[in-house]
């Protein structure tokens, strides 16, 4: 008994001594501080990536219906409507699946046929300046109109779209946009559009009167503006990364329940530091919205793709651009188009930097689905160490693991703010 007592005292003394030594050398608080301590400059970068700095949805001056809840509710119906297709089976939601972060899981998307590129994710799309992988439109509403007339996607015409609106959605449309001119299949050709790929549709379009063409264009544009009013409400929710930034900003770094693990934090450090990912993936949407040629391997199933290079003249000549007659913007409100870089040779094979929010939830990757996993993407970037555009430093396997772990923390539910509106 007495022996036990002495032993206990000895044990206690030993423990105290150990604690004392431990405290003298490496205080415990410092241990946990190191991992989560960020310099002022790093904190500023974390703040710039934080979802809270996204702000409210940017105004689209070219679409006066963009924040109209009725237009958004109408646009939501059109988004899921498969009547707007050549086989009555394709809607916007075919390639922008609500259950897959509003994109699809295919390397090359498939509507009426296989397209040359991968479907883009829609979360936070309203924060873009340019739309599609090559930025060939400068507004969400004009983007929404492209696939409908593409043979590979919806595969119908604007005259057919106007007819479907008049037949199935007349009341809803007219309550928003005013009376529809009398449309019958006899009066206006079903398959008329200003097409470069279909001489018959083009001829039918040209034979219509200017007034008829304008009437059809107005209905078609209003469809696009309604779809855009819905799609712009699709936004990412705060992710574990965002919660972590809030903890760091609140100096809550001794919290035993930090939002990120040690590996994830190490990955974040690489992301904003050595690996230089924020060169292009910057801001709260993790994209600079610019166009870059990464020297990616070509998808053998897709034709060679000039990317941004050919999109420059497309957006400038589009009747649906910000400066066109169907835009609601004052010319001064179109700075991106006004100051567009017309050096097309600089942009051969260049594609838009995509958002990284939710990136691990939606393989495959790159504009033509060249990589099946995030890991393959990271390996590709590592292999491009000598490229000044892509210099990500000499990354070890462990660092690649950490970066991958960090990318998982950008996941969050993708929801439409419009979902509750009936």
């Amino acid at each position: 008994m007495r022996n036990n007592y002495i032993r206990a005292i000895g044990f206690a003394v030993a423990i105290s001594l150990l604690l004392l030594i431990a405290n003298m050398t490496v205080p415990k608080t410092v241990l946990s501080m190191d991992q989560h301590t960020w310099s002022d400059q790093e904190k500023a970068i974390l703040g710039s990536l934080w979802i809270g700095s996204l702000g409210s949805l940017p105004v689209d001056p070219s679409n006066k219906y963009s924040d109209n809840p009725k237009a958004a509710a109408f646009g939501r119906k059109l988004f899921f409507e498969d009547h707007f297709s050549g086989n009555m089976k394709v809607s916007c939601a075919t390639c922008h699946r609500e259950d897959y972060s509003f994109t699809d899981n295919l390397p090359l998307s498939h509507g009426m046929d296989t397209t040359p590129r991968r479907s883009m994710p829609l979360a936070g799309v309203a924060y873009n300046s340019w739309f599609f992988w090559d930025g060939r439109t400068d507004s969400l509403w004009s983007q929404a109109l492209g696939p409908i007339e593409s043979k590979l996607e919806h595969g119908i015409s604007r005259t057919m779209s106007a007819y479907i609106i008049s037949k199935y959605y007349r009341e809803e449309y007219e309550s928003l946009f005013g009376p529809i001119p009398e449309i019958t299949e006899d009066k206006w050709p079903q398959e008329a559009r200003p097409a470069q790929d279909d001489p018959n549709a083009l001829k039918a379009w040209v034979l219509m009167t200017p007034e008829q063409r304008d009437a059809v264009n107005r209905i078609y544009v209003n469809m696009g503006k309604s779809i855009a009013a819905f799609v712009r409400t699709i936004v990412p929710q705060p992710s574990p990364f965002d919660h972590y930034v809030e903890q760091v900003q609140a100096a809550d770094t001794t919290n035993p329940r930090m939002a990120l693990t040690n590996d994830e934090v190490a990955g974040l450090r690489l992301f904003i530091g050595k690996a230089k990912c924020t060169n292009c993936h910057n801001g709260p949407m993790f994209t600079n919205s610019d166009f870059h040629n990464l020297g990616l391997p070509q998808n053998k199933k897709a034709a060679s793709d000039e990317g941004r290079s050919t999109a420059i003249t497309q957006v400038l000549s589009s009747e649906f651009n910000c400066l066109g007659k169907y835009s609601d913007a004052h010319p001064n409100e179109c700075p991106e188009l006004r100051f567009i870089d017309t050096s097309d040779k600089k942009y051969v094979g260049a594609f838009k930097t995509p958002t990284l929010r939710g990136v691990t939830d939606r393989p495959p990757y790159m504009h033509a689905g060249q990589f099946a996993t995030v890991r393959e993407v990271l390996e590709f970037y590592r292999s491009q160490a000598q490229n000044p555009e892509l210099g990500h430093g000499d990354l070890t396997d462990k660092e690649l693991n950490q970066l991958e772990a960090f990318l998982h923390t950008l996941s969050s539910p993708v929801t439409s703010l419009q979902a509750e509106v009936k």
């Binding site: 400059q41 500023a44 970068i45 710039s48 924020t278 060169n279 292009c280 910057n282 801001g283 600079n288 919205s289 610019d290 166009f291 040629n293 990464l294 020297g295 060679s304 000039e306 700075p335 991106e336 006004r338 100051f339 567009i340 870089d341 017309t342 040779k345 600089k346 051969v348 094979g349 000598q386 490229n387 000044p388 555009e389 892509l390 210099g391």
Partner: protein, 287 residues
């Protein structure tokens, strides 16, 4: 330092074309002229890493020098030194250079611009490769009615930024970030400010420039261009800014400024006024 010296000597000898032959240099291989026999015809070579070829009918010896080591997709400059295959410079020859994609059976719309520098040296600017892949440069030489040609082959032209020597050093630590500076030739003082305060990336914004002459008087009749560049990455602004005069007082407004990457940017303002052309570069470090 020694390397720089070598490059300088090499450049000088290049600028003089074959003039270096008259005063043979020793000790620097780059400066030496080597001649390889090809029957009666011979190839003359000044540079170790240049490409040499005899034209198809053995009339001329061509030496192709690529200053950036590698040709890449985009706009390139090369230099061609032309000799008679029997020896001697070809001065005042007629040169045509045509970029060609053999696999596609097409070239490019824009033609290279050729300038004779003397001593058999011709610089060829505006050599455009519009895409990646297999390219050729078809070179035709004509002198005193004797025409001959050959083809230089580039099996794999890569995209901008790949393996070309544009890797540049990070910004020097003592970089001058001042917003008011003299132009390089001391002709003007230029001050800039962003009209929306702190410059943030990914936002189109405007700058205001104040331009004064050396005597401190406002310059109101200037023609100004503004170019942005990222020295570490070798690319520029994603926009084409426009400059407009605002009233008098040497004030100008630059609309359409946009930076899409954090880090070191250099914005160069070129000013043409009162018959003087001068420019100034501002450094920016964007978060």
């Amino acid at each position: 330092m020694k390397r720089i010296l070598l490059v300088v000597i090499a450049s000088i000898s290049l600028l003089m074309g074959c003039a270096a032959q008259n005063e043979p240099m020793t000790g620097h291989n780059e400066g030496m002229t080597e001649e390889h026999g090809h029957g009666d015809a011979k190839i003359t070579q000044h540079f170790d890493d240049s490409l040499t070829k005899l034209t198809d009918n053995n009339l001329y010896s061509l030496e192709l020098v690529i200053p950036n080591k590698n040709l890449m997709m985009g706009v390139n400059t090369v230099e061609i030194i032309v000799h008679h295959a029997t020896g001697g410079d070809v001065a005042q020859g007629e040169l045509t250079v045509t970029p060609w994609m053999p696999g596609m059976g097409h070239g490019v719309m824009e033609k290279p611009v050729i300038t004779e520098r003397g001593g058999g040296l011709y610089s060829v600017d505006n050599v455009i490769f519009s895409m990646t892949g297999h390219w050729q440069l078809q070179v035709k030489v004509s002198k005193d009615g004797k025409e001959d040609s050959t083809v230089f082959d580039f099996p794999e032209v890569k995209a901008m930024g790949h393996e070309h020597s544009m890797m540049k050093a990070p910004p020097p630590e003592d970089l001058d970030y001042s917003t008011m500076k003299m132009t390089a030739g001391d002709a003007f003082t230029v001050m800039y400010k962003s009209t929306s305060g702190k410059i943030r990336i990914n936002r189109i914004h405007s700058w205001e420039l104040t331009v004064k002459d050396a005597a401190g008087q406002p310059v109101n009749n200037a023609k100004i261009t503004v170019v942005g560049d990222m020295p570490e990455h070798g690319h520029g602004l994603p926009t084409q800014p426009e400059v407009a005069k605002i009233g008098s007082g040497g004030l100008y407004r630059v609309d359409g400024m946009k930076f899409t990457m954090p880090g070191w940017w250099v914005v160069t303002v070129s000013i043409m006024a009162n018959g003087i052309h001068d420019s100034v570069s501002f450094n920016l470090n964007l978060l």
